[in-house]
Amino acid sequence: MTATKLLQIDKLSKSFADNQVLKSIDLNVAAGEVVSVIGPSGSGKTTLLRCVNFLEVYDGGSIQIDGREVGYVDATSRKRRGEVDLAGMRAETGMVFQSFNLFPHLTAEQNVMLGLRRVRKKPAAEAREIARHWLSRVGLAHKTDALPSELSGGQQQRVGIARAVAMDPKILLLDEITSALDPELVNEVLDVVRQLAVDGMTMLMVTHEIAFARDASHRIVFMADGLVSAQGTPDALMAEVASNERLRNFLSRFSATAH
């Protein structure tokens, strides 16, 4: 096969109590690739994403970033990595949350700086510069001293993106980042993500914005019932609609902003 992918997921499985949310997932993302994961609720998409930075502990299979197993000591062992080790791995992935999860007691700038100072151990002045750079890239240069409570949903989410990206992660994980936003605020966030894709950021995103997924991704993965039901380039996936009934049903719910 070709060189190891940046993110390699093999036969991933995960259960919550007696509900097997992920049955067996095979997925990979190459450096610089943008992969979108779509599917009905309950298909396990968010769980999949949260396994990649070990916010969820997966039961079987393997997830590797740059050849290193996430969460466990190696691909076959079930011995978990220590706290410090795990934190180091998480610093290599960036996550943007559906409910933003900004730290309410810190300004936008301080939110972005926290990881830079305490994890990357950068001095305050350098951290501030990097934070300001990224806040300006997401269009919030004028809001560096604002608290989250003073920002709109779209602005908060853009700070969330800046916070994740400022850490210079190998891969960015985006968990339905526009689902909690009012419709008129969605585009400002999607524009930022589109720009990041153009600039070469590796991204794995779970999203309901099908049109956006088609425009911005190199590949789309359709999940249903804990398995990958179909995947391919946007065009190839659309071609599968004829043969894949679940995919057809799923997409038919989205009105034709189609193309």
């Binding site: 930075n53 916010l55 706290e83 410090v84 934190a87 180091g88 998480r90 610093a91 290599e92 992935t93 960036g94 996550m95 949350f97 409910s99 999860n101 900004l102 730290f103 309410p104 007691h105 926290l114 990881g115 305490r118 994890v119 608290l147 989250p148 409570s149 916070r163 994740a164 850490m167």
Partner: protein, 215 residues
Amino acid sequence: MDAIIYSLPFLMNGLGITLLVSAIVVALSLVVGVLLGIGLIYGPWPLRWLIRLLSDCIRGIPILVLIFVVYYGLPPLGLNLSSFWAAVLALTVFKSAHVIEYVRGAVTSIPRGQMEAGMAIGLIFPQRLRYVIFPQAMRRFLPPWLNGVTDAVKGSALVSLLGVVDLMQAINQVIGRTYEPLPLYILGALMYFAINYSLSTLSKVLERRYSYIRE
């Protein structure tokens, strides 16, 4: 009336003891309560269970019973404390149980997403506690705790039952000499009122300063 004026210095002395007892109780219960509160939330399963049990029992009994338990119960166990320290110990134990509850309420009201966001940027557990949880918990902890301070002052009046000459006991003793209960009790009430009302006004001011955290 003259007798009352003559007894003012004696009452002020009692007031001093009341304030001293309250201050010690508040300070000690804060330290003990916060430590045990953290143990309750983040500790191993048996510890959490034990702290929960003790805290519920202590809050389930009247303060007076606790004071008697400490005062009468320690000597047979070989521990001989003065009335003052027995009372302080009992009040501290009582208040600590409340502080544990304030801590628990403050920390569990922080949305889970905050911990996750801290994890996602690579902070380790002590860092998450220090930079993400603690600042937010503080702002939720202060209002109920500040309210509890007035409870400590009111509770301190019970030390009079062990013979400690605080404000309450001073009043009782002056009444014993002057046979004028009503004016003295009213005076005492006003003194307690003055202390507690100022404390609660102060706490409202502090609460307002930190209220911007409301999401």
